[in-house]
Symmetry: C2
């Protein structure tokens, strides 16, 4: 039955917040598909996890776990910047969106981005921003984003 | 004497961290030259100031005060994002750079950007990033930045 199938798929691809046990479910290997991501020790992972957790809703990392394989197959993060402009307004910054190469086409990226944007909105942000390559512009437009400025970078190492 | 003049100028345009009394020195009016910046009450200002102060080195707003007029004539901010990628690396995000229209040409913008980039570097960031308009690209190139990606935005209000 179509309804059961849809409901099973929805169940299989739920977005949730990162948990400390996700290190053993391929979270770091997934990030390696995004950029340079050296292995980190359990202690380093735990320390960073605790640091981020102490930020509460101001810095959230979400994941999608494949219920069948128990592997993390999508992730993204958002942190909330507190400003003085716009009546002491807040801005959500989305970072590090990645979907496992074997799980493309399932709209998981859109699910993650919507989850993070909703989080920013429900925490009082007046906008959410992100930086991406030209190649990914069309994807973010489908998520309701528009191009605004350019990103500049200065590397220290 | 040239040396005294230079030394006086350096004295007159020192970069320092935002202080709570800067609200009465034109800090909010300066931000109005950047974007929409509604007036905020002293209580709202103090609350936001304390929130940011509690972040310590992870979120710093700096200013330049004109020693003659006691007005804030330049500002900028940087916050440090903690990641899992790059061996639990950190990234500095520069925001809200503005120089008073009457103080252009004194290299104050560059001073502010260098202060914030140095802060990010000395706090262990592997890079510092910012978003700007095409019009400001040349200025940030003079500060050592290169264009990398594009910025996407989604407004909630």
């Amino acid at each position: 039955m179509q309804n059961n199938k849809d409901s099973n798929e929805a169940e299989a691809y739920q977005v949730r917040k990162l948990e400390i046990t996700d290190k053993n479910k391929g979270f770091m290997e997934l990030l390696q598909q995004l950029t340079v991501c050296d292995p980190v020790s359990d202690e380093e992972f735990q320390n960073r996890f605790e640091e981020l957790k102490s930020c509460g809703d101001d810095h959230v990392i979400c994941v999608i776990e494949d219920a069948t394989s128990s592997k993390i197959i999508a992730t993204g993060s958002v942190f909330i910047e507190k400003k003085f402009i716009r009546g002491c307004g807040k801005v959500g910054h989305i970072e590090d969106i990645v979907v496992d190469s074997s799980a493309r086409g399932l709209q998981l990226g859109k699910k993650v981005v919507c989850f993070l944007a909703d989080h920013a909105r429900s925490n009082g942000c007046y906008k959410v921003i992100l930086d991406c390559s030209d190649d990914n512009k069309a994807f973010y437009e489908k998520c309701g984003f528009k191009q605004k400025e350019i990103q500049m970078v200065k590397y220290f190492i």
